[in-house]
Amino acid sequence: MQTTENKGLVIFFYVCIAVFSVICLVPFVLAVSGSLSTESRIAAEGYSFWPRGFTFETYQFLFGSKAEQILRAYSMSLIVTVLGTLTAVLVTTAYAYVISVKGFRLKNFFAFFAYFTMLFSGGTLPWYLLSTKYYHLGDTLLGLFIPYVLSVFLMFLMANYFRSIPHEIVESAQIDGAGHLRIFFSIMIPLGRVGLVTISLFYALQFWNDFYLPLMLVTDQDLYTIQYLMYNMMANIQFLASGNAAQVGGAIIAPPLETAKMAMTCLTVLPIAILYPFLQGFFVKGIIVGSVKG
């Protein structure tokens, strides 16, 4: 039973959500349109939501002369994402299992040991100096994922999943003589599937999108990830624009500058856009389990 006042409000609500949803997608339309435009028309007339002089020139250029560099950065990102996610999930679930074991004397100590790092940190500088000078992670593949393999937040999320597994299952396994390693690998991991998928996705997203680690630790162009390649491209164009051309290093400044940026944007977002429909539901489930109590 709706009054007219309520009807107006509901329509207003629908419009609000629809408008914001459109705003969330519009920038991507802009990127796609830019990548399919001709460089000269972008330079003369500016960006637009509809391709100016529809052409695949930019992509042909990228896959022609820049193919090697882009493919290397792409595969680097892929390697970092896969290795990083595997290592991170293993380290995280193992730690989460330990603090979720009923009756383990030190589980609270270990929980606090991890939690304290969320409260207090040494900051960027000591972290950077230790990583480069003492751990020698500068310009190494390890440096691109090792510092991120234990997210304390995701670890506690995973511990919550483990705690939700009925204790009787563990008990009966123990009676049958299974040790913790066996319980962890052949009971907890299979039963904690949903949690495992959730944290894997969060880690994968983080590794794919990260450019903090390459920014801090990488100078070797062979180790550039796709995000960092993109950053260099953008930063160098900024330098050019602000008349600071002398500082431009040997990065990729290619003739179709503007359209190339947009094409790279599309290429970087593409894997996420393709996988998104399949993965989105898991993320939502993960956030809900992680944030709502009881």
Binding site: L25, L106, F120, S242
Partner: protein, 326 residues
């Protein structure tokens, strides 16, 4: 058996089970050796990347040089602090920017997330909710670099869409990338664009858990939609809003280097408002090698940040004992 701590609030588990003696610890090492083995990689990572960097804070009393490293460099006494206070202006600017941007992100982000969640809760069309929720969540998956690249095509002086629009409307073009204060607005809007949908999911999930009998009772009493929103929905969200806000206060001095780098490319013209503490440390120490000064500001950031965490926890305790973080 000892009582289980509440599983969802890790900080409540104060270590109460420390081994009373080395003998008992050795026994436990034998008995639970596989547990220690499983925790070991995590412990090593925490020590390497969280605990040892804390000890690196002694840098502030050192005259750092790269050859001797953190522990070998000669002591400098309080020289770095003198330097710190003598160039107080930059440090204060970085602090102000960090706190200002974080506060703005928190206020606007919470407002939009809550508003979206409330509106979604009022809508009945399942497919509409599903589709729009997916679309609004999507920007959360995009890195700041990509957002920066797209923003450039919106804001560029000659080629940007916004200036084309301004021209078409007969307004003068704006030079966004050299307007520090205008850019604050852009950063705030970019942050809403990226994270409001993500935040909305959290609040929407809370609302899905609300007992429907409240709504039924209100409807029978003849409450209007607006009254239901303000009298039932909003109060239901307040505990979550407060918890999220308190969690945010502790991170007030932590800036998002990736965001600033990705969106402004460290454009010098924008530094008056975008030079947050992390950017400042990156510029002075990692790019220019002035370690002493940067370590003083790092120490200040850590200590002040820790105090904020304790304060937020205290506030949470006053509001509601169960909301305490630890």
């Amino acid at each position: 058996m000892m009582q289980e701590a509440r599983p969802d609030i890790p900080g409540q588990m104060v270590p109460q089970a420390q081994p009373a003696s080395a003998r008992r610890f050795r026994k436990s090492l034998r008995k639970d050796s596989s547990l220690y083995l499983l925790a070991l990689p995590g412990i090593i990572i925490l020590i390497l990347f969280a605990y040892l960097p804390m000890s690196g804070l002694i840098l502030v009393f050192k005259n750092y040089n790269f050859n001797d490293g953190i522990f070998g460099s000669p002591w400098a006494g309080f020289a770095n602090f003198e330097f710190f206070f003598s160039s107080m202006e930059d440090a204060l600017r970085a602090t102000r920017n960090t706190v200002m941007l974080n506060a703005l992100y928190m206020l606007t982000g919470t407002f939009f997330s809550v508003a979206i969640a409330i509106i979604l809760n009022e809508l009945r069309s399942k497919w509409f909710i599903k589709i729009t929720q997916s679309v609004m969540f999507f920007p959360y998956f995009i890195s700041w670099i990509i957002i920066g690249a797209i923003l450039f095509s919106l804001l560029d002086y000659d080629k940007g869409i916004l200036n084309q629009l301004f021209q078409a409307l007969g307004l003068s073009q704006m030079d966004w990338y050299s307007s520090p204060w205008l850019f604050v607005v852009i950063l705030v809007l970019a942050n809403i664009w990226k994270s409001a949908g993500y935040g909305a999911i959290i609040y929407y999930a809370v609302l899905q858990g609300v007992d429907t009998s409240y709504y039924e009772a209100a409807r029978i009493d003849g409450a209007s939609r607006w009254q239901i929103i303000t009298k039932i929905t909003v109060p239901m969200l307040i505990p979550s809003i407060i918890l999220m806000t308190l969690l945010g206060i502790g991170g007030m001095l932590k800036g998002d280097l990736s965001m600033i780098m990705g969106v402004t490319f460290l454009n010098p013209l924008l530094l008056p408002t975008t030079d947050i503490i992390d950017v400042y440390v990156y510029r002075t120490a990692i790019r220019s090698g002035e370690f002493g000064f940067a370590s003083a500001i790092t120490l200040y950031q850590s200590v002040f940040g820790f105090v904020l965490v304790l304060l937020a926890n205290k506030l949470a305790g006053w509001y509601d004992k169960d909301s305490k973080l630890f």
